[in-house]
Symmetry: C2
Subunit: 245 residues, 2 copies
């Protein structure tokens, strides 16, 4: 079975179990049998081959083999802090950020933000991350952080990392990001504001904290488009995928 | 009224009319009155101020003023030829390509393609383009071309332009696209294959015609993600938006 399954809990020795949707999908939808082999991942970057030992109603017990050497290569480590868009656009954004190798998403609390990052919204986003990982062959989850107000977020920028703030009047991002970023292992923290944009005060706070205002093109981008465009720029500098699957 | 309205037919002298959805939206939803002023665009890059002269059931007659000097700046002229994804992903892709300043979308006919570019599908995509233009402040429509088989499409690459074909084993696109592309006015024709990828034969056809295989990141991208990632790369080299609106 070429599909990979997500382990909510990492294996203990050679024992592991699929639970919830993952177990039901394997047992009921795909009608797997005891003795079938599958591949599993726990979101930390490691994958294992596994044999099905028992199939229950909401649980599949597995015997896992030795881990498959992690081959995941990514671009610069990108944390993207975004004033969440509404509804389906949230889910789309998370799917695309997962495919495009972003490391972490932080729901950004801003003056003009519209969508609240409720615990249930965060849960839904985490489920979308797992689905996207399975689909795109990624073994390390896109981490969804706790919602954070802008001043607290900009303070998280570490020395030597690159801070970017999306703003239509900024420098073209193509002039700021160089292909060597990836090879140099520079971390990137990028801020994307809500539909109505950052307030002047928010922009000043970011720039004063060492962030560079960058333009992402000639038009006004939707929130999710801006986030995806930044992730695309950084994925574009990543070494190509190794052919292990 | 800050919203812009789309003219299906360009003004003749100072006379123009909104029809269909645009007329109904202005007349019934926004309850505009004779004498109100609006801004209109015809998708060619020009905008006009206009005064409402008459409001009918499905038609609003306007007196247009002198055109507002076009200020639209874009990056390199990008034609993106894509094996259309299914359902909502098509619409979403077109919205994002419009925001990200792609010039032209060609539905690419490939061996493993799944979605057919029927006339009604094309009509829906054109409507999405207009909606996205209104939303992102773009005055030149993203052109939707006729469906084209891959060999015919690669033959359209002009001398001096850059041909790209998305392929996981290619060179990182960040090493191929330079910020000077935009300043040099180089056209780009990019090919994105279907979910199952291009066949080897299709790849050979593209490479033989002078296309460079480019990787867009470390994971397997969905069709629409690949298309959006390429457009993001090129928008990233565009001069920033001028503050005219």
């Amino acid at each position: 079975m070429s599909e990979r399954f997500f382990l909510a809990t990492s294996p203990r020795g050679s024992a592991a179990s699929l639970t919830g949707d993952e177990a039901r999908h394997l047992g009921r939808v795909l009608r797997a049998k005891v003795g079938d082999t599958v591949r599993v991942f726990d979101g930390s970057g490691t994958e294992w081959p596994a044999r099905i030992d028992a199939i229950g109603r909401d649980r599949v017990d597995l015997a896992v083999g030795p881990p498959i050497a992690p081959v995941e290569k990514s671009g610069p480590l990108l944390t993207i802090a975004v004033a969440l868009p509404k509804g389906d656009r949230q889910k789309w954004m998370v799917e695309k950020l997962t495919e495009l190798a972003a490391a972490r998403l932080v729901p950004l609390v801003t003056s003009r933000g519209v969508a609240e990052a409720t615990p249930s919204a965060i849960e839904r986003l985490k489920r979308s991350v797992i689905e996207a990982c399975k689909q795109c062959g990624r073994s390390t989850l896109l981490e969804i952080g706790e919602p954070m107000p802008l001043p607290a977020c900009v303070a998280k920028k570490t020395a030597g990392s690159l801070g970017l703030v999306a703003n239509p009047g900024g420098i073209p991002i193509g002039d700021v990001i160089s292909p060597s970023l990836s090879r140099d292992g520079v971390g990137v923290l990028a801020l994307v504001g809500p539909e109505g944009g950052f307030t002047d005060e928010e922009l000043v706070t970011a720039v004063a904290a060492g962030f560079t205002a960058v333009s992402l093109g000639p038009h006004v981008l939707r929130v999710e488009t801006a986030a995806i465009a930044i992730a695309s720029m950084l994925a574009a500098t990543a070494p190509p995928m190794l052919p292990n699957r």
